[in-house]
């Protein structure tokens, strides 16, 4: 314990900027020497894609090599660079602190994205995982608005996702692609990537309108009743799409153009985090929490409960629609079977694992379930024993999820760690 505390103290003076710089160094090392030198001398066939998790589980002989790789490429450079550059990253962070918060946040995000892009760019498999994880983050945050902040138990998220996915796919296929369902493109395909945000927004709006169908008849019910109505909605959407032969029916719809590269998805995810954060910390967001804790009491305190609930519900559905649209354009294929009970279980697992009523929690939940699912891939069947087991343990020891009821404090996160060192 003593060593751990000392260790922690040693690095407490490093600002976020310093850590980012350290990671950048690690990624550059991997980029230039990872394949030709480091993994070669460690006897690894290639650069380990997920910190060696896949290779270790597949072939236990590789464990020392993979751990060695992680140490040489990630742990040591990150710690070393982060610590040694603290002398100039701290003043830099202090300088950024004086600028408006949004500017400082954007500078940090751009830096972060650059590092992420470089890391993922080493292997297309990483790109795909990062893309799907980012989409999961949007999904988890959006369901957290309903299941966490509003305290309902909604099961229609896959349905909203399907609406968003289908509507945005229909728009891009109809306007920008020569395909079998809708024939020749109406607009020049070159416009596609520029107008893609509108297709996504249309998908989001469609999902929001769909959510009104659930919200209007069920706004008087709570708990189990809403769960059942929303579950029914999910099945209605699925069956409807299955029986609509015009859009592929059960065969699905394919050939979506590749309009969702990593930077686009990253921007949408950050927009989602920012907007949802503003929403839940607004007066409406606070009213939402009041409705969750006691509806009658909040009604008597002049909260318009009906309007609050409806807004939050459509808002959550809107972002699920956006996520669905991005998802469709990453996979370039969708079928109604994808948006069924399995997807619901996955989304609920992410939100309850990460933590209710917290954006950080949602991010943690989405990232950990996605990365775990990928890292444990070589275990095949046992993967489905280990992940649920972890979920059960989390539910027993932290019933509200890993990080619940906590908000991001961007200012505190990004500040310089200089002053603390001086013992202020």
């Amino acid at each position: 314990m003593e060593t751990a505390r000392k260790f922690k103290n040693m690095f407490s003076t490093v600002p976020i900027l310093g850590w980012l710089l350290g990671i950048l160094a690690a990624v550059l090392i991997e980029y230039y020497w990872g394949y030709d030198y480091i993994s070669y001398y460690l006897g690894l066939p290639k650069i380990p894609v997920l910190f060696g998790a896949l290779i270790m589980l597949k072939n236990p002989m590789m464990i020392p090599g993979a751990i060695g790789y992680d140490l040489v490429v990630y742990v040591i450079p990150v710690l070393l660079i982060a610590k040694t550059t603290a002398f100039f990253t701290n003043p830099l962070a202090a300088m950024l602190e004086k600028t408006p918060l949004w500017l400082s946040a954007i500078v940090h995000l751009i830096f972060f994205y650059g590092v992420l892009h470089l890391w993922a760019g080493i292997n297309d498999y990483r790109v795909l995982i990062v893309k799907l994880t980012l989409i999961s983050i949007i999904l988890t945050i959006s369901i957290n608005v309903i299941n966490g902040y509003q305290g309902e138990f909604s099961c229609s998220h896959p349905g909203f996702m399907a609406l968003g996915a289908y509507v945005s796919s229909i728009i891009t296929l109809y306007f920008f692609v020569n395909d079998k369902i809708f024939g020749i493109a109406v607009l020049p395909p070159a416009l596609g990537p520029w107008l893609f945000p509108f297709a996504l927004l249309a998908g989001g709006v469609a999902a929001a309108l769909g959510s009104l169908l659930v919200a209007i008849p069920s706004f008087r019910t709570r708990g189990d009743y809403l769960a059942i109505i929303s579950l029914a909605f999910m099945f209605i959407v699925k069956s409807a799409v299955e029986n609509l032969n015009g859009i592929g029916g059960a065969r699905g719809m394919g050939g979506q153009p590749d309009y969702a590269p990593l930077p686009i998805i990253f921007i949408w995810t950050m927009l989602c985090i920012w907007i949802v954060h503003n929403f839940v910390s607004s007066i409406m967001g606070k009213a939402l929490n009041a409705v969750r804790d006691d509806e009658a009491a909040s009604e008597s305190m002049t909260v318009k409960t009906r309007k609050t609930k409806m807004t939050a519900f459509t808002f959550g559905a809107f972002w699920a629609g956006i996520a669905g649209g991005l998802f469709a354009h990453v996979l370039a294929y969708i079928n109604p079977g994808m948006f069924s009970i399995n997807r619901l279980a996955e989304i609920l697992a992410m939100v309850y694992f990460g933590g209710l009523n917290s954006i950080v929690g949602s991010i943690v939940g989405a990232v950990s379930i996605n990365v775990l699912g990928e890292a444990l891939r070589p275990l095949e069947l046992f993967k489905w024993i280990i992940i649920p087991l972890i979920l059960i343990l989390v539910m027993i020891f932290r019933p509200y999820g890993l990080i619940s009821f906590k908000e991001i404090n961007a200012k505190q996160l990004l500040r310089s760690k200089f002053k603390r060192e001086q013992g202020a």
């Binding site: 020392p64 090599g65 498999y125 299955e242 699905g252 394919g254 079928n335 994808m338």
Partner: protein
């Protein structure tokens, strides 16, 4: 504390330096990817694919490796689970292509995974052979994607012709799952073929249900009342026994005919007596097989304890096709992109490949021209060859 830490690090470094794997040159290994549903809705299908692949690897290892252009190469299988999910199949393909550097991929089996996964394989210019996917979109406009089985537009007419010739019936009923890609497509094709033969309205009952339904009595009552002489139901092994039993209970007397999805060993096990004497179209028939097909069936049965279904046989053929294509390239350069394209070109050129599920020649789309087999479930519950039908 510090001393111990230092010691551990030093030992570790030394162990690494002198371990056999360190500093060894990277060998050129031929890797074949298997993308199979080992978990999820249809694990039996994944199991069959995996077992067939393991048997193939065993054969190669017995020979000491795969010989290409006079040089022997080690062969490795990369078996990935696609959880019977589309995005997981896409992830598995991306991983195998970009991380494991596979030369060719066999799988995924179901169309709902094969269609999106084929997109990935084609994008990265890697050969993918889907043994079991019957959706035309899997290979459409994708030069790098092939399949090992016939398509629905071929199978539907085969069944329609067989019923007409065998029984001389003119009125048929169809019962299918509207929510599942394969049964729905095949039901449509069958209806079209049947009505072309016997005129409009000759499909007297066209009933549907939804995946996971277990009670078909209302649909079957309609079918019995409609006066149909034969019932066609292109369903999977989990639904066929229920449909057949319920039909018999409701007084259905005529034959019930199925498609290649009946081919799993489970169908008869779950259905028992009522299924005896029924017919279905398939890729191969296990009972009464000869030559290489029999050798494969016997060996599989001896190793894994049950008769292989068509998925295993088709996977086996797909692997042999891949092997043949790799050997036909004549040389492995070690530059993976060049080798993949070479494999693609030589695979497209293969003519009259003698597989255990029949002879195959690929069309320009990467679909094989091959015969269908009509199988009869005999009185012992075995799948017996009855007739074959060629294009």
């Amino acid at each position: 504390m510090r001393k111990i830490a230092c010691l551990v690090v030093v030992t570790f470094v030394f162990a690494m330096m002198f371990s056999s794997s360190a500093f060894s040159a990277r060998k050129t290994v031929i890797k074949i990817g298997i993308n199979a549903p080992l978990t999820g809705d249809i694990p039996k299908v994944g199991e069959g694919s995996k077992y067939a692949a393991m048997m193939w690897l065993e054969d190669i290892e017995k020979l000491g490796g795969l010989e290409v252009g006079g040089k022997i190469y080690d062969v490795e299988l990369v078996i990935e689970d696609n959880e019977s999910k589309a995005e997981s199949a896409v992830k598995a393909n991306t991983k195998m292509i970009t991380q494991d550097d596979v030369l060719a991929i066999v799988g995924p089996q179901s169309s709902k995974q094969a269609v999106p996964a084929g997109e990935v394989a084609n994008k990265y210019k890697t050969v993918m052979i889907s043994p079991w996917s019957t959706n035309p979109n899997t290979t459409l406009d994708r030069p790098y994607v092939f399949r090992g089985c016939f398509l629905d537009p071929f199978q539907g007419p085969v069944v329609a012709n067989f019923i007409t010739e065998e029984f001389g019936f003119t009125k048929a009923a169809v019962l299918y799952d509207v929510a599942s890609d394969y049964p729905k497509g095949l039901a449509e094709v069958f209806k079209e073929a049947w009505e072309k033969k016997h005129g409009a309205g000759s499909v007297v009952a066209y009933q549907s249900f939804t995946t996971k339904d277990t009670d078909f009595s209302s649909q079957l009552t309609q079918i019995v009342k409609s006066g149909a002489q034969v019932l066609f139901t292109p369903q999977y092994y989990n639904e066929v026994p229920l449909i057949v039993k319920q039909a018999k209970d409701l007084g259905w007397k005529g034959p019930i005919v199925g498609s290649d999805s009946w081919g799993s060993a489970e169908t008869v096990e779950l259905c028992g007596e009522p299924c005896y004497g029924q017919f279905f179209s398939s890729h191969y028939a296990a009972a009464g097989a000869k030559g290489a097909t029999k050798a494969f069936i016997d060996r599989y049965t001896a190793t894994y304890g049950y008769i292989p279904d068509d998925v295993a046989a088709l996977t086996w053929d797909a692997l042999l096709l891949a092997q043949q294509a790799i050997q036909n390239t004549g040389k492995i350069t070690g530059r993976i992109e060049t080798d993949r394209t070479a494999v693609r070109d030589s695979l497209a050129k293969i003519k009259n490949f003698a597989g255990i599920t029949g002879n195959m020649t690929f069309t320009d789309e990467g679909d094989p021209i091959k015969c269908a087999v009509i199988v009869k479930i005999n009185d012992k519950g075995e799948y017996e060859f009855y007739k074959s039908s060629c294009p």
